[in-house]
């Protein structure tokens, strides 16, 4: 069980997270039935606010377990305990830990929050790590993701995991996301930090937290839809996301955050001043047989002729075989290439170049797509600088 930091109860410090934890424990200790009262928990509400019901529940518990000889049921003094108050490590706290339902013997709450959760087991942590080992990441980043899972479990008792599609995304997957029409991303194929196995989206699937009435949520998803149904980043949910980011970017893990609002995201490099489009152009050049450069959100390419660069469109256009190639570009490229070749013996003039056809244009679009495929296949060799 997480320790409380300060006192809870009548005239206590009543920090919210301490209060919620004490309330949760009292909600998970069943009080024996008595005349006029059925068996039930000492407290039925976990809200982090200490009022008369919480104070009374503490007193009831103390009167039955702290200020009494349990064997004889005679009242006894307990000078180390304070009526109506639970203090860190005092006899009331110790007795609460002794009496709480074993299934709830390790409950946690994030500091400042009121959402009490059941700590994940070692098996649950290991299952999340096993899942990571089946996903696609670079080896260096995989180690960081596993470190993050381990640290979250070690520090907070939470078994985080990788979200669906939260590992390396192929260029096709990135294209699907870009064209989903929901404005999920502005990054085209090869332009996302997810395309190179060095970024992960992590989440809280399986987090077992206690509702205000003490029931346990058993079907939480990675994005905390149960805790935050409208996904407004409600304060209690935000606290979990902030904790994930704090742990993920700590020296013990060594990852970096991505865009500020992208809370599930961690990546392997600091992307300050890194242009993903410029890096894609470099990666395309290194992976294929053409020279590429970035021109704002569009790309230029030598089309394999080795001369001037031609604007060929966005990554999405190129991926979808809609590169903005024209017959004139191919004609110009061919002519420039031919001009660099030495004349054959006795040749007075270069032979006229063959006319460029629509099929040539289509073939070039297919070839540009193939260059992207090569870059996609070469993802492990992408660099951020």
């Amino acid at each position: 069980m997480q320790a409380i930091r300060n006192s809870v109860g009548d005239s206590g410090t009543n920090e919210r997270s301490d209060s919620a934890l004490v309330q949760a424990i009292l909600a998970k200790i069943i009080r024996a039935a008595a005349p006029g009262r059925p068996a039930g928990p000492y407290l039925t509400k976990i809200d982090g606010d200490v009022g008369s019901k919480t104070n009374n529940a503490i007193r009831d518990f103390q009167n039955e377990y702290v200020f009494v000889n349990e064997a004889t049921q005679q009242s006894v003094a307990n000078p180390l305990a304070t009526p109506g108050l639970v203090r860190p490590g005092d006899p009331t706290w110790a007795k609460m830990l002794e009496k709480v339902d074993a299934a709830f013997s390790d409950m946690r709450v994030l500091i400042g929050g009121k959402t009490v959760y059941v700590a994940a087991t070692e098996n649950q942590r290991q299952a999340k790590i096993n899942a990571v080992n089946a996903l696609t990441f670079t080896q260096v980043f995989r180690t960081r993701v596993i470190n993050c899972i381990t640290q979250m479990h070690s520090l907070h008792g939470i078994a985080i995991g990788v979200c669906p599609q939260g590992d390396r995304r192929t260029f096709q997957t990135q294209y699907d996301l870009l064209t989903s029409g929901r404005g999920v991303t502005n990054a085209g194929p090869g332009e996302s930090n997810h395309n190179f196995g060095m970024a992960a989206d992590l989440g809280f699937a399986g987090l077992r937290w206690l509702r205000e009435n003490g029931t346990v949520v058993e079907n939480e998803d990675p994005w905390l839809h149960q805790l935050d149904p409208r996904q407004t980043l409600a304060p209690e949910a935000l606290r979990f996301w902030e904790t994930l980011r704090t742990v993920g970017t700590s020296p013990a893990v060594g990852a970096f955050r991505g865009p500020v609002a992208d809370r599930p995201h961690l990546q392997n490099w600091n992307d300050a001043n890194v242009s993903m489009t410029r890096r894609l152009a470099v990666h395309l050049t290194n992976s294929g047989t053409m020279r590429w450069e970035r021109q704002r959100s569009r790309y230029t390419c030598d089309l394999g002729f080795g001369g001037a660069l031609f604007e060929v469109g966005t990554a999405a256009q190129i991926w979808n075989r809609e590169a903005t190639i024209t017959a004139e570009m191919i004609r110009t490229g061919r002519a420039a290439q031919a001009a660099t070749r030495p004349m054959q013996g006795g040749q007075q003039a270069r032979p006229a170049a063959a006319p460029v056809t629509e099929q040539d244009v289509r073939d070039m679009r297919t070839e540009l797509r193939r260059q992207f495929d090569l870059a996609d296949a070469n993802w492990e060799n992408w660099t951020a600088n």
Binding site: S180, G183, V184, N186, D262
Partner: protein, 169 residues
């Protein structure tokens, strides 16, 4: 002898009436909502997206099981060997809501009814159940709340389920 036969007949008749009455008293109700993602790359439907063990609905428009539409199946039960209630319909209201807080764009985040449709019940199985289908043409990145109501009969039955779709960069 005649008296004994009459008594047996009467008991049998009363029993039948009691059973029939009990059957008639089974309230027609919606007992389940299923949701099956239609997968664009395979032309097949997914497992049920609702219930324990259902897949997590993140970035559904991507990957080998990419899906941007969902078929909803509403199960109605009205008792074994009972007639299909005349005039009964299932009304399904599907409402998109919720933000996509991890997306680049915060546009188009208002609550929106994406389907409000009623459908008559079809033939029922001998166990007194029938199924009604509805097509949600666009399901991808926002939470969809399904509210199914049985109308046209006394004692309307309603069932609500949520499909927590979300997308993230």
């Amino acid at each position: 002898m005649m008296l004994r036969f009459s008594a047996v007949f009467a008991v049998t008749a009363i029993s039948f009436c009691i059973v029939a009455s009990a059957r008639a008293q089974v309230p027609a109700k919606i007992t389940e909502i299923q949701a099956r993602a239609f997968e664009s790359r395979t032309g097949t439907f997914s497992e049920n997206l609702i219930g324990a063990g259902a897949r997590e609905l993140g970035n559904m428009p991507t990957g080998k099981n990419a899906s941007v539409s969902t078929f909803i199946i509403v199960k109605v039960a009205f008792g074994k060997s009972s007639p299909v209630p005349t005039g009964a319909k299932v009304r399904l209201v599907a409402t998109e809501s919720g933000l996509t807080p991890f997306s680049s764009s915060k546009k188009d985040q208002r609550k929106k009814v994406i389907l409000d449709s009623s459908s008559l019940l079809g033939p029922a199985d001998t166990d007194g159940t029938t199924y009604v289908g509805f097509w949600l043409k666009r399901t991808d990145c926002r939470t969809v709340v399904l509210n199914a109501t049985l109308t046209g009969i006394a004692g309307a039955s309603t069932k609500v389920e949520t499909l927590p779709f979300t997308c993230y960069e």
